[in-house]
Amino acid sequence: MSESGRKDNHHHRHDAPLSDTALRVKALESLLAEKGLVDPAALDAIVETYEKKIGPRNGARVVARAWIDPAYKSRLQMNATAAIAELGYSGLQGEDMLVVENTSAIHNLVVCTLCSCYPVPVLGLPPVWYKSAPYRARAVRDPRGVLKEFGLELPEATEVRVWDSTAELRYLVLPERPPGSEGMNENALAALVSRDAMIGTAKVVLTRKVTP
């Protein structure tokens, strides 16, 4: 098996020889295109969509809207798929959505122990760690240990709920709105919401350095 390069700080180096896997994919694509089974322009469009057009900023908007607008939050709880679609997000791996709300008493964490199921229309494609053995194995068995690794320690009295995405329901965590954010507008609130907070491995805090 060739390296995926994920541990290196990898940039696309066009002068470097293609890895075995890259070559194999190229060969497969040429074979399939030649047989008329795939359209390379459609492939380009799919790659671009996932690279540029679908990502956690979508889910952050849903969260911010729910924080600001109680009627929207209510619709989100009644029919998450429809409410999320109101903001323009829908589709593959998000056809049947559920929102699970964090409170001071309950903290939610989402996993797919069997593969990598993830609410793609609102969060984009999942990060490597979500799809990897350590998270998939431990999230259901030792969620507090997992959260601690992410730098999140919960009081013992908080109930941790782990959602194993075994069926086609896809879960979005509605994180708690951070204290001190009362005066902020929707855009500013959305900018606070990290992808990890919507999976359940982080809380939303008032100051944030990155927007992953």
Binding site: S4, L43, E51
Partner: protein
Amino acid sequence: MNGIHDMGGMDGFGPIEREADEPVFHEAWEGRVLALTRACGAWGKWNIDKSRSGIEQMPPEDYLRASYYEKWLWRLEKLLVDAGMVTREEIERRNAEMKHATGVS
């Protein structure tokens, strides 16, 4: 099946490794494999359940060692061959031709 993919509760996998500012695709071929899988799936020879089943049939040692999209590539080849859309010989022949053409032996 009671496969290696059924990992909930297993011990021994070590810490959760995270990458800051992780790109959507680490290599161009990863995006390509995803797109190819969608495009080939449109022919209706399999469904999402059959495709998940495909990955589950990977030999356990390969499953654990492979990166996520390496699993997808393995699965796509298997689905295509099982569906009769390409043959294993065609895949290997084209792969060998391309290796030769790019000077890799």
